[in-house]
Subunit: 288 residues, 2 copies
C-alpha cells in the first residue's frame, strides 16, 4: 500500500510526538520540525508508509543523537502488560472459545502505538478489553488455516502488544517463529523487548533483518526470507506490516486495528475498526 | 505571538484541507503537500502564525491557480448565518443583558473557521448557542470601556461570523469602523463578504490593507493605520488578529475562541475556551 497525501501530516505529527518523548525544548523541536519538513519535501512517497517512516526516523536519530527514543516507554508498556497478563490469560482460558478470546486480546494490544494516532490510555476505563467493532472478521477461516498449518510465522509489531501476542501463542498451543524488527524504530519491538515480554518461552525468536516499522520483504535478511518462503501461515500484526505485505502473494493473515484514515479507507472500514483478514492476495506459499 | 513547532503541523493540515475544498485529486494533493513541506522548511518561523500563513496561502494560490478556494463556502456560511439572524436578534434583544448575549453570539460565530481546527458542524445540535466555557471574561470592563469610547474599530475575522458581528453592532447601538482583509485568505471576510453580511448598514466598512489572516499593523495601509491610531477602542475578533496584535500597546479587546493548543497555552486556558480579554498591553491610544 503506497503512502498518500495524509501521510505527510501523520509523519510530521510523529516527529513532534517524538520530540515530546525526548523532552526537547521548543527551539530544538522547532528545528527538528523544520528539518522534518525538508526531509518530507524530498522523500520518495511512491513507497509504503513504513519505508518512508524508517528513513525519517533514522534521519531524526542522526539529528538528535537518540537511536531509541521510545526505549523507556517500550519497557513501561511491557511491564504494564505483564501485570495484566495472568488475569487476561485466565479470561482467555476459561472463555467458550479460548483461541478467539486470545486473538481479541492480542488485537486489542495493537492499540499500543506511538506511530499512527497513538492512544496513551490503552488500559484506562476497561477499554483494553473492549477494543471496538470488527471491520473484517475472517476468524473461522483463520482458525481452519491455523490448524492445517505446520510452519507458522508471527510478525510482531509494538512493544507491550508483544505480551498479548505471547498469550495468544500459548493459548493456540503452537510454537511459531516470532519475528521482530532488526533495530529500534518508534515503539516497535526489537529482540530486547521480545525477550522482556517472555516470548522466548513460547516461540522461536528471530529478527527480520528489516528496520522499517513494517516488514519490507525485499529488505529482510536472506535467513528470514527463507523462513517466510517456507511458512504455511504468516500472522501479521499491525498497520505497518499490513502496509508492507498486503500486495505480496502468500499465506498472510492481517491482524490490526485500522488506526488511520488512509488504511481504513483502503480497507473500506470505519476508522478504528478491528481487522482479522485473510490476505486478498492469499496463496498457500509466498511468491515474492 | 510567535509561531511554535506545532504550527508546522497545523499549517500543513490547512494545506490538505484546502486541497479537499478545491476537490483536488490525490496525486495533485500529494504534490501540493510536498511543495508545502518545502515551503515550511524554508519559512521564517520567527513571526506570527498569520504572517507565515499568508505567505503559504499565496504560494498555494500560485501553484493551484485558485486565489480564493473558500469563496463558495464563505458565501454558504453567510447564507446560513443570515437565516439564523432574526431569531438570534430576538434572543439578544429580549435577554436581561442584550449586549452580553449579542457578544456571546458574536463569539460563538468565531467557531466558523477553516484555519485552525475547523468545525464544520457549527450549527448542529444547538451547539452554536452553547459555545463553551469562558477562559477569560473581562466583560464588565469591556462594557465600561465601550460606553466611554468615541471612535470604535471592529476587526473582523471569518465570513459567516460577520453576520453575528453585525448583530452585536446593532445591539450595541454604536457605529464602528468594521475592517476586513484586503484580499481573500482562507475563509476570512473580505469586503465582498462584509457586504453580503449586511454590515454596510451598521458600520463604516474599510479594508485593512493587510492580506494576512490577522491584522499585521506594519502591513496595514496608511489610511487604516490612521484609523487604528485614532481609535478609542479596538474590538479584535479571532485567533489571527490576537496573534498579530497582542503585543501591540493599544485599546484592544480580544474576542476569540482559543482553538489551538498553542494559543490556549499562551493564554493559560483550556483549549476551546472563549475569551473576552482586555489586552495585557492595554493603552488608551495605540502606540505602534
Amino acid at each position: 500500500m503506497k503512502a498518500e497525501s495524509e501521510c505527510y501530516l501523520c509523519l510530521l505529527g510523529q516527529v513532534l510526538r517524538t520530540a515530546g518523548v525526548l523532552g526537547l525544548e521548543e527551539a530544538e523541536t522547532r528545528a527538528l520540525a523544520r528539518e522534518a519538513c525538508a526531509f518530507l519535501a524530498r522523500a520518495d512517497f511512491d513507497r509504503t508508509p513504513p519505508e518512508i517512516s524508517e528513513d525519517l526516523y533514522y534521519f531524526l536519530a542522526g539529528l538528535t543523537g537518540h537511536p531509541d527514543p521510545y526505549r523507556i516507554l517500550k519497557k513501561e508498556h511491557i511491564e504494564r502488560a505483564l501485570k495484566l497478563y495472568p488475569e487476561l490469560k485466565k479470561l482467555a482460558a476459561t472463555s467458550p472459545d479460548p483461541l478467539r478470546t486470545a486473538l481479541e486480546i492480542s488485537l486489542a494490544g495493537n492499540v499500543i502505538d506511538f506511530g499512527a494516532n497513538s492512544e496513551d490510555d490503552w488500559l484506562k476505563d476497561g477499554r483494553f478489553l473492549s477494543p471496538g467493532p470488527f471491520g473484517i472478521d475472517d476468524y473461522q477461516q483463520f482458525k481452519e488455516d491455523l490448524q492445517r498449518a505446520d510452519r507458522i510465522v508471527f510478525l510482531g509489531d509494538n512493544a507491550g502488544e508483544t505480551v498479548f501476542d505471547r498469550l495468544f501463542i500459548e493459548i493456540s498451543g503452537r510454537r511459531p517463529v516470532y519475528a521482530v524488527r532488526q533495530a529500534p524504530i518508534i515503539n516497535d519491538a526489537t529482540l530486547e523487548e521480545a525477550l522482556e515480554s517472555g516470548l522466548a518461552a513460547v516461540a522461536e525468536l528471530v529478527v527480520s533483518g528489516c528496520r522499517a516499522p513494517g516488514t519490507v520483504y525485499e529488505r529482510c535478511s536472506p535467513e528470514f526470507k527463507n523462513i517466510l518462503d517456507q511458512a504455511d501461515l504468516v500472522i501479521s500484526k499491525g498497520q505497518g506490516n499490513f502496509e508492507c505485505l498486503e500486495q505480496v502473494r502468500g499465506p498472510f493473515y492481517f491482524l490490526l486495528k485500522a488506526k488511520c484514515r488512509v488504511v481504513s479507507r483502503y480497507l473500506g472500514v470505519p476508522q478504528g475498526s478491528l481487522i482479522i483478514m485473510r490476505s486478498r492476495n492469499y496463496n498457500s506459499r509466498l511468491l515474492a
